[in-house]
Symmetry: C2
Subunit: 334 residues, 2 copies
């Protein structure tokens, strides 16, 4: 039924070893022989069996990528960066979605390991003890992208979330705002949550701006929670003049909440955030935000992983990529 390397060998009048060599581009084959083999392959419609190959060579040229939420465009963009570099180095990737569930993340990691991937990329999400335990059992290199482990022991690629939040807040301050509220992510989340809140706080402290407790609301990163948080701020007696959101999606929710009250952005309230997702330039007003280089995060992480898989020496396993401010139309000078 299926044609094997053995069939090709017979057809071409050579040994399996020779066929294997030509398939793997081993230079030690006479051009003439190579030609014969190619013809036999063509004639028979031979397709190498990657499973058998993986078993024999103990390499699958495949890296596993765990993506916490495939429907989140941030991760999708990071995945594109990963892919492009993976292709460049002739690795295939297995994208595994974990649906924002921790236990599924662990399951997915184990499945990937069973499949004998040569390396693992873990995207976003919190890295818990259980994650660490799962990583521990792996004998392949692992790189985190968009997140870090508490001990900073695992190679990772990130932006400086704290500084990004600081810069965003500073821009608001520079525009004369002193009543600045924040829609934060979970303070349990080290990267997108805690760090961004810290940066916000530092900028305020730095400028001697007080932060009333009611000026901070914790959301879940999504649109609806942005609306909810903003509605809360809107009802405050001393309403903020600017809002900093930990993510673009919540910021867009906030903008709509403001507009739904008949107010305008940035006329009545300025809004700014971090991420620069595609949607940030598909709203009115265009969202001012700190751009996170998502594609690059993926690309650099994958590149780092190839080096690790190749057992190359790494100078700096914790890479931090620069962020940049996208000044658009959602922030006004006071």
């Amino acid at each position: 039924m299926t044609v094997t390397i053995y069939d090709v060998a017979r057809e071409a009048g050579v040994s399996m070893a020779t066929v294997s060599r030509v398939v793997n581009n081993n230079p030690n084959v006479k051009p003439q022989t190579r030609k014969k083999v190619y013809e036999a392959i063509e004639r028979l419609g031979y397709r190498p069996n990657a499973v058998a190959r993986g078993l024999a060579s103990k390499k699958t040229t495949t890296v596993g990528v765990v993506i916490p939420d495939i429907s989140n465009s941030i991760f999708a963009e990071v995945a594109r960066g990963i892919e492009d570099i993976a292709n460049m180095y002739h690795y295939n990737i297995i994208l595994s979605n974990a649906d924002k569930k921790k236990d599924k993340e662990i399951r997915v990691i184990n499945t990937l390991l069973e499949k004998q991937v040569d390396g693992l990329l873990f995207m976003g999400g919190v890295v818990t003890e259980d994650h660490l335990a799962a990583f521990q059992t792996a004998s392949i290199p692992i790189v985190l992208c968009g997140t870090v482990d508490d001990e900073r022991k695992i190679p990772s690629v990130n932006i400086d979330h704290e500084q990004a939040a600081f810069d965003a807040t500073q821009l608001l301050i520079d525009n004369g705002h002193r009543k600045i509220a924040m829609i934060s992510g979970s303070l349990q989340d080290p990267a997108n949550g805690y760090a961004r809140y810290q940066g916000f706080k530092r900028a305020l402290d730095n400028a001697n701006i007080p932060l009333p407790e009611e000026y901070v609301r914790v959301g879940n990163y999504r649109y609806d929670s942005g609306i909810e948080a903003m509605n809360y701020f809107l009802e405050l007696e001393d309403r903020p003049t600017a809002v900093f959101s930990a993510t673009d999606e919540m910021a867009i929710g906030a903008i709509h909440a403001i507009q739904d009250q008949g107010l305008t952005v940035p006329g009545d309230i300025s809004v700014m955030s971090i991420d620069n997702i595609n949607m940030a330039s598909m709203v009115r007003p265009l969202l001012t935000t700190v751009a996170q280089p998502m594609y690059d995060i993926g690309a650099v992480a994958m590149r780092l992983l190839t080096k690790l898989m190749n057992k190359e020496q790494i100078e700096q396993p914790q890479v931090v990529l620069p962020h940049s401010i996208m000044k658009r139309n959602s922030v006004a000078h006071l």
Copy 2:
């Protein structure tokens, strides 16, 4: 280094076969023996090698999913449906992004086949002769989701795009509109392009509404092309009172183009489309659209594939799922 089934067998004092049986939940093992084996597995930290298993059993319990564009939320949602059902039937999935490039689609299909996936799901995109040729070489079942081949030979899951477009247009007509323009997709694309245009045309013909040539613009499904097309309509002497867009994303572009001219939706111009992506409820006004059951398309396609892989008899290999109209705020009565 790595612990194999053989190590476990020795540790537990049984044969490889017995270990294999317990790992595969074969009932023919004495509970006591089973326990011994589990303990040995635990002690040694044994993890089955899926590659070896795949080679020996000629099954990988893995299905390949080719996704044309991972950054498109429609496909992401379909993928979620696929995933959930795959998990339910204990299949793993390999998600492979093809970046909207036909040659990459073909490459990805071949890679998946080399990896010996047990089934293949092909999402979106046009199915060309080259695709068919690649499918031909496969000896595993294949299901299309969100697209069809010209001959309707390959099992597939879809909505009735023509009817969906008809229904959308009809809603505009029912609201008193007679000057209706369309932002179409490529007429080369059988599903999202041609079929939707046909449905639009049929509704108009049906109501004896003329369609001036300048009332149809072809876009590329994305936001910017919606803006572009709308700007064209806006400059027409006889401006349409309603616009039907082949996709939500273009519709949102159209809405913003209208608003950017100081006009309102639906006050000045009504907008309606097909898809019901998340963003459709993250704009102002909320977008009226025909909902495509994306999750279900993925789920049903995967379920169909499991049956095919299981060699079950299929009554109807061409599945058409129902669509429904989401009346929101972007269409006004004239």
